[in-house]
Symmetry: C2
Subunit: 272 residues, 2 copies
């Protein structure tokens, strides 16, 4: 029976969950996860305690609670439950208050309460841009792109573009490199003015063949030999044209996106 | 001059940044953010210190450092910098080791090192599914969808679907409700077998008119009166057909997605 882990938040709990996940992945042990979002009243805090205590009798051990509750009264309630309570907010708010010599606002749900802000609108705009410029669908407004990803079909361009847009508000277009480009031996013409904001994705031919075979089993498109040819040509072209690139083979979307931001100097100074 | 905040991580630093953002948003104060990802050697830890100490002389005050470094030697190096160092990992790893009575693995980059896992493949598959089923593009495999979002054009279906896929690996199709549906007074026929996994998005007509006017200024499509009509009809239809829905007006994608997961019982037990 794996230990139960509660994620208790007055908002979505997404931040808390992501963080808890990264900490728990340091243990060679399975955990059962229970999300308790939107705990924005003391009534809901009491209801949460009931759930926690139920887990104690089910599991025969006290659960682990990651909480980002901001409200002191609700915090006090949850703190009294029969669990290891790890309060991610309070732990860091206090040293920061001392350091900055100001009090925190203790306002609930501040993180995502930005649906009406400029930053949020930029994110939505970036998502729409990336969707409209997925897979070379449109050459319009390419000059507005922050980055243009290139690579052969199924090298990871689409999820990376969407992640860049969603996480960072980066307008990421993507454009396929296809056999016709390799025959001409040149980058697609519409991209030529934008070389400095292009970034390439490559992938191990073996892995590419596996991915393509899931889509079109037994096709020439998915054949290992063809994948080798396309990847060789694409990498040679990117080197020749001075386009930076990386191999997506063993990288997650998050790792690819972060690397691109660094390499292409999209790292504008951020302010919170 | 806002205080400088460093996000120092041996991986992408995305988790650390999201978490730092949520804590810093508790202060009515601007911060300048510097991301330092992929600090996976003591050399890079030393280079990071140099950057931190540079900020001290530029700002005339010591910066704040959020770190999720796992390696003890690198941690020790960063800890000695002239900064308020908040170590998000160490802080919680210790009480967890005591509670679980096992040692953590201290393995670097565990979070996103899962590009080859089943869970990661499911996420990519969900993204592809959501893209293929965006805006009613395809009625194929709707039976495979975990959720089908419905709503009038520009009510927030597309970003929510993509977020559900990317964050939770949920296969989210989305389908527009259009004037023809309102005239017939029925949900789109291809959706009828899937009522129990439909979820509606509505939006304040005023806000909808603003959004639509950005796309097609002065059109009938964007006119406030038309937006009012469509929203009235859509909400009436969802009530009549027993489709759960929420208003996306003041909600972020994250809040909408979390609410949908809860409402439609996509909350399968998760294990880490």
């Amino acid at each position: 029976m794996p230990p139960t882990v509660f994620i208790v938040s007055d908002g979505t709990g997404i931040t808390a969950e992501t963080f808890a996940h990264s900490i728990l992945s340091q243990f060679d042990q399975k955990f059962r996860l229970v999300r308790v979002p939107f705990v924005d009243s003391t009534e809901k805090a009491h209801a949460t305690i009931a759930k926690i205590n139920e887990a104690v009798s089910l599991d025969g051990r006290r659960p682990i609670v990651f909480t980002t509750l901001v409200d002191s009264a609700s915090n006090e309630i949850v703190r009294r439950s029969n669990a290891l309570v790890l309060n991610m907010f309070q732990t860091f708010i206090e040293p920061l208050e001392l350091e900055l010599d100001i009090k925190s606002t203790h306002a609930m749900g501040r993180v995502h309460q930005n649906a009406d802000t400029e930053e949020y609108k930029n994110r939505i705009e970036a998502i729409n841009f990336s969707l409209a410029h997925d897979d070379g669908q449109s050459n319009r407004n390419l000059s507005d792109a922050d980055v243009i990803l290139v690579g052969v079909s199924r090298s990871g361009k689409t999820p990376t573009s969407l992640y860049l847009a969603m996480q960072y508000g980066v307008k990421a277009a993507n454009y396929p490199l296809i056999p016709e480009d390799f025959e001409r031996g040149r980058l697609p013409t519409p991209l030529l003015p934008y070389k400095e904001k292009m970034f390439g994705l490559s992938i191990d031919p073996q892995r590419l063949a596996e991915i393509r075979n899931e889509r079109r089993p037994g096709s020439k498109y998915a054949a290992l030999e063809n994948c080798r040819y396309e990847i060789n040509e694409a990498e040679a072209m990117m080197k020749r044209e001075g386009v930076k690139w990386l191999s997506s083979t063993h990288k997650s979307i998050e790792e690819i996106a972060t690397t691109i931001l660094q390499e292409i100097r999209l790292e504008r100074p951020s302010y919170y």
